[in-house]
Amino acid sequence: MSFFSIDQTVLSHSMKLCFAGAGCDLQTNSVDLARALELLSIAADPLRAGRFEMRVVVDESSVEAVGEPHFRGLHHVVTASFGSTNLFVFDILRRTLSARVSGVVARDDLFWKEKLIPITLGVLGAAMGLVPVHCACLEWEGDGLLVAGVSGAGKSTLSVALSENGFNYVSDDWTYISQRQGSIVAHGTSAPVKLLPDAVQHFQSLERHSLQVSMNGELAYEVDIAEAFGAQVERECQPRWLVFLERIQEAGADFTPMSSAEARSYLNSSVERLPPQLSEAGAMRERTIQSVSTLPCWRFRYGGTPQFAANELREFVVTRRQEVYA
């Protein structure tokens, strides 16, 4: 049996970090991990959503790489294991992440960037006023466009097409929303954009990349959007519109207004149900969802290529901006 006491271990590397609007007080015994996380951190912002503590003990005697993910949760605690050595324990009430990982995982920069940080924000976010919503987010001259849609609706391919069409990229699948001085702010992480195999028909540069099995078992391209497509990446923006994607068979596109009740229903459906022990976090989350659902909402039905849809959306945003700023 192995026993790891974080309390009794000297975690000599401490730093204050910031991920997607959430402050993180890191303590670890690994200089490699501290450096890797520092590179992922964005500039500290005194108005960020909230803080959490991350305490990671790195077991250099273990060489276990990242294994199959396994998640479980009860009451205020969520566990995530990636093999028998790599265990993460999220305490939502106390806003802490306690972990024990192998030396190999501590130095696996991609794991922290693409998996662990987004997972942490998703799990602890509710307690910090940071709400994960199942939307892509793009930014045009300071104004944010949230693009919602069920899995397979084309959020990621459209995000790439929009970022090739003048928009700055914030996120393609999950966006983290916080409230700041009465406004809502959308944050992205550095997670890769995930494109299904047929996306290669629309984006030839994907031919340089290979398909991988993603965390949900799907075969997909998982690529850094700046590297693969030269996209300009923004870490956060202020959303102005919410658009729901709906693909249709016929070629063409139209926009129809949607009620905030419909928007709220969708946003609620994309967040994890919380147990009664987390009722306060649930209420805070509900307030943020309510704010997002009061954005002007539109249903965007389109048939055609992502590039065609991106052109339509660009025109839509330009027109809406003219109305707002006229």
């Binding site: 192995s2 006491s5 271990t9 479980r72 009860l74 566990t79 294991s81 106390r94 609620n268």
Partner: protein
């Protein structure tokens, strides 16, 4: 799209029903056992360890889920302790958490783990009532 909220599937298994409930003791010292598995509920209720005063202060809520869908590989036990939380992991499919401040013992028990092992070995280790033999913490500098 309807106006009724639709939820994600319960991927974390947070909302597994626990129809087998036993409770004893007064309000302050109440011992409550909840499980989706009658054998676990009975085994824990009847075990000595959770009744011992030195294992707990005040009451204790035990919520233990027999995990029929989780992974089953491995048998190595590892423990992690951080502040009020103490976590025991056995193999890939069993994880037990003791929150000392909240007096809660929560966990998922792999379908391969017999109740006897749970109550005579895993829970006592988690509650600190069994010596932690072969402790391997040599990788760290102690305070």
């Amino acid at each position: 799209m309807t106006s009724e909220p639709r939820w994600h599937p319960d991927l974390l298994r947070r909302f597994v029903a626990t129809p087998y409930v036993f409770s004893s003791g007064d309000d302050i010292n109440q011992l409550r056992v909840e499980s989706n598995d009658l054998e676990i509920a009975l085994g824990v209720r009847n075990s000595d360890i959770i009744h011992r005063k030195e294992s707990r202060t005040g009451g204790l809520l035990c919520r233990l889920i027999r995990d029929m869908v989780g992974p089953v590989g491995g048998s190595e036990i590892s423990m992690l302790s951080d502040g009020p939380l103490r976590i025991l992991q056995q193999g890939r499919g069993t994880v037990l958490i003791h929150d000392r401040e909240r007096a809660e013992l929560l966990g998922f028990v792999s379908r391969r783990v017999p109740v006897e092992e749970l109550v005579s070995s895993l829970i006592p280790r988690l509650l600190g009532a069994q010596p932690e033999e072969k402790i391997d913490s040599t990788a760290f500098t102690k305070k």
